[in-house]
């Protein structure tokens, strides 16, 4: 019994890799495995067929409770052509299994993949690895011989053949998959039949080829009972916005400008567009942020999403949002920067920008999502803070989270926290003018919207006199307003749940602090080290600003603190300067998640240093 398995599917963009990856993930989750997936789309839109830039990948890890990421090195690598092998060969474990489509390794494909004349990558792989190589093209043509479809159409079912093979390997009932295929491809009867036949051919192949040795049993998790669905990171963000708006009884207004890897948030919301959920593709990120503020002034839950360069363009508007004290949720799906950088790769290098990337004294709460499903909770909470504290809020996601998927136990409507924005009802007594900047006990101003009689008021970017909101150049008033806005943001800690290490143990030798999409990688490694009796704990921050009040005590409970992040060391500096402790940095800036081996060895070095300390 294997506790978890990582499978990497790879092929040409046209090979239907994402489809079978998703099918396999879905069925694995339904079978009771913990599942986490990641889609690696090619950066080029239509790279030439058969070439390395045209390769599309889908990775998933499934197994028992300890599945926290889509895995790093694969136990099984499926390659549909030579280019896919060339791109991902290094991602296969030395003792892993390679499943290769032989017809994708002919002379033409080898040349397209950039192999030298006479190279035989499959033969080389066989020498050192377990390889299942099948001429899938030939086999599907044979299996579909009777069907009235063209050769090209028949070829298109190669992916289903692979899916069949995998389903057999992991001992899944064929009917489950056939039903799934039926739902996905119900449109054309012939195509559906072809795909089902190809699936069965792949499923049946295993028996005939005597592949019994590859049959593997994998642990299942004991997921909490309930109704589940799959959530992709960007989809979770969109869903949280829609649900939060409904909880707050406000319409949702989302404005965005296309940018990888944030665009899918706009796409997902546009799909749901109705009178409660408006989407607007603006002319640029400045307009997106400002239009969102316009909608916020009108009474909507306003949100905008982008990635690094786009967030830079929004920063003037964010200063405006801070001084207007209107709710706004800003999502930054971070990618490798600066500038266009590595647009399709993940990085955590916008933390400083989120905290300080504005003019003037302009604090706003900053939250970070740790995984696809956590993005729902984090964005929902961000919306609650924005609406109840009347402030812009920044949520940091990243390229990894955006394209990864997890199974999600669907909460019931009542389990979700209520959201009660400070709407004004009624008009001021005795015909006095409405005062838009009178604060409540938490420093929050009231939200009055156009259309409300007697609440007419003017707001703007100029400094406002306290209470009345009239223009004021008074020096003392400015200081007071700056402090009031900052205090209001600080008071957002009232929305926090207690900060905890994963195990709940808040003292020991080494504390690994993380934030964002590195959650699963750090957690998995720390658990393994704990299993080897090291005194090590992991705490993952959701709230970067204001920092949780109970965080300092956790930091001080450990002999050494290491901050692991995918940047040059940003949270680590914040922790050092805030708590005056000698936190160590553990960083990587390659556009890739942490790998288990590198994290483990870096953390072991720290553990040894403490022991020799």
């Amino acid at each position: 019994m294997q506790s978890e398995v990582t499978v990497l599917f790879a092929g040409d963009s046209g090979d239907g890799i994402q489809l079978i990856g998703n099918a396999f993930a879905q069925k694995s989750a339904e079978a009771g495995h913990s599942v986490s997936t990641f889609s690696d789309f090619p950066a080029e839109i239509r790279a030439p067929q058969g070439t390395v830039p045209g390769v599309s990948g889908f990775k998933l890890q499934f197994g028992g409770e300890s599945v926290y990421t889509a895995g790093d090195k694969a136990d099984v690598l499926v390659v549909m052509n030579a280019a896919a092998y060339k791109k991902y060969a290094g991602h296969l474990k030395p003792d892993g299994i390679l499943i290769a489509n032989e017809s994708g390794f002919d002379g033409r494909n080898l040349a397209l993949a950039g192999y030298d004349n006479g190279a035989e990558p499959l033969a080389e792989a066989r020498a050192s690895q377990r390889v299942i190589s099948v001429d899938i093209k030939k086999n599907v043509q044979a299996a579909l011989l009777e069907l009235p479809l063209g050769t090209a159409e028949k070829n298109r079912t190669k992916n289903m053949y692979v899916l069949g093979l995998l389903a057999w390997m992991y001992q899944r009932p064929a009917q489950d998959f056939e039903k799934y295929i039926q739902e996905k491809l119900a449109k054309s009867k012939n195509v559906l039949e072809a795909n089902q036949m190809a699936f069965r051919a792949g499923y049946g192949l295993a028996e005939t080829m005597e592949l019994a040795a590859f049959k593997t049993e994998v642990s299942r998790a004991t997921p909490a009972p309930g109704v589940y669905r799959t959530l992709v990171g960007n989809q979770a963000v969109a869903l949280a916005l829609m649900v939060a708006a409904k909880k707050a009884n406000r319409p949702l207004f989302f404005a965005g400008y296309p940018i990888t890897p944030a665009s899918d948030i706009l796409h997902e919301l546009a799909r749901h567009r109705n009178s409660d959920c408006l989407t607007f593709q603006a002319e640029d990120e400045i307009a997106a942020a400002v239009a969102a503020l316009g909608a916020a002034f009108g009474g909507s839950l306003a949100a905008t999403a982008s990635s690094g360069p786009g967030i830079s363009l929004k920063s003037e508007a964010l200063g405006f949002a801070v001084t207007l004290e209107l709710p706004l949720v800003v999502i930054n799906v971070q990618r490798g920067g600066p500038s266009t950088g590595l647009p399709t790769k993940t990085e955590q290098s916008d933390l400083m920008q989120a905290l300080y990337g504005r003019h003037g004294e302009a604090q706003m709460p900053v939250l970070a999502a740790r995984s696809a499903t956590d993005a729902f909770e984090t964005v929902f909470l961000a919306a609650k803070i924005a609406l109840e504290a009347m402030t812009p809020v920044m949520v940091l996601s990243d390229g990894y989270i955006s394209n990864s998927a997890e199974a999600w136990l669907i909460p019931s409507e009542d389990e979700l926290p209520s959201i009660a924005p400070p709407m004004v009802d009624g008009t001021p007594a005795d015909g006095n003018p409405f005062e838009p900047f009178v604060r409540d006990a938490f420093g929050v101003r009231p939200w009055a919207c156009p259309g409300q009689e007697g609440l007419e008021h003017r707001i703007g970017g100029l400094e406002k006199e306290k209470n009345t909101g009239n223009i004021s150049y008074d020096p003392a008033n400015h200081e007071e307003m700056v402090m009031a806005r900052a205090a209001k943001v600080q008071a957002a800690t009232r929305f926090y749940s207690p900060t905890q290490t994963d195990s709940g143990n808040n003292s020991g030798d080494l504390l690994v602090v993380g934030w964002g999409g590195t959650y699963g990688s750090i957690k998995a490694v720390v658990e393994k080290l704990q299993g080897k009796h090291y005194s090590i704990e992991h705490v993952h921050l959701r709230h970067i600003h204001p920092l949780p009040e109970d965080f300092g005590n956790i930091l001080r409970g450990f002999k050494r603190v290491v901050v692991a992040e995918l940047n040059h060391g940003q949270l680590v500096n914040l922790i050092r300067s805030t708590y005056l402790i000698d936190a160590h940095r553990l960083t990587k800036i390659q556009g890739q998640p942490f790998e288990e081996a590198e994290l483990k060895s870096a953390l072991k070095t720290h553990l040894q240093a403490i022991q020799h300390g």
Binding site: P225, R273, A282, A287, V290, P450, R458
Partner: protein
Amino acid sequence: MANPRDYASDQEVRWCPGCGDYSVLKQFHTVLAHLELPRHKTVVVSGIGCSSRLPYYVNTFGVHSIHGRATAFVTGLVLARPDLDVWIVTGDGDALSIGGNHLIHLLRRNVKAPILLFNNEIYGLTKGQVSPTSPEGQVSKSSPDGALGSPFMPPALALGAGASFVARAMDRDPEHLRLMMIRAHEHSGSAFLEIYQNCNVFNDGAFHLFTEKESRAHHSVYLTHGQPLLFGIENSMGIRLDGFTPRTVNLSDGYSHDDLWIHDEKDPIKAHLLARMHQEIRPFGVLYAENRPSFQSLAQNLSSDKKAESIEQLLQGSRTWIQSE
């Protein structure tokens, strides 16, 4: 008609004495009163500049936004709240320089809102630099040797961007200005109204030729739909079209009204000719007006036939499975 004073806020107006902005504000109060617009359903949104201070002086909802972005702010506001009556107030720098991108998209989309563009051919608030409408060669603090490059002709820019309504007025002709504001407000989509406004401190007399009593008649052609293009003392001059070239003629030279260019607000080609009359004779009034559905009405239609989803429906999505004990 309501009382214009009810539309004035309690804030002290802070423009330089003699500034053309005063006249525009006064006409604006009067127009709001004339239209009897409910104050709580009216929103005035501006960018940054002397002109953009205007919302503070109007007792409705108001937003003094950021430089160049009033148009973007309004696009979001009216999409979310198509029930409101929203006005945009902007300057030549605000609308045509830093805010140029948002302006052209607002016009292209046909977001319903009058746009009052105060053109003084200078940056007033920042104390006198050239603006995108300053004539070539204009000497200013930032162009001591004269401005380079040709200026925008705002109506031509607006038409180029697909504006459905383009008009011009001036601070010195209050009655006509009020009329143009009313026309702009009536319009079904974006209503671009360029207002010649004198900045008596940094660019005094930029438009004297067109606005002052002694020269106005000789240089300003007031347009009326269906009427010939006439100007001069007692309308003694006219403009006729020679192919696509406008030519000024003296009616005493034997030309009759039938020989002249008859203004047609709905003619997009002739609107372009009018917009490009940027020399010493310039048109005032509605250059172009076309009925086209507004952005907010199109957006509303899109969403109205889609059913809102319940929280339960949203959470469940399209595919779920059950884990039993």
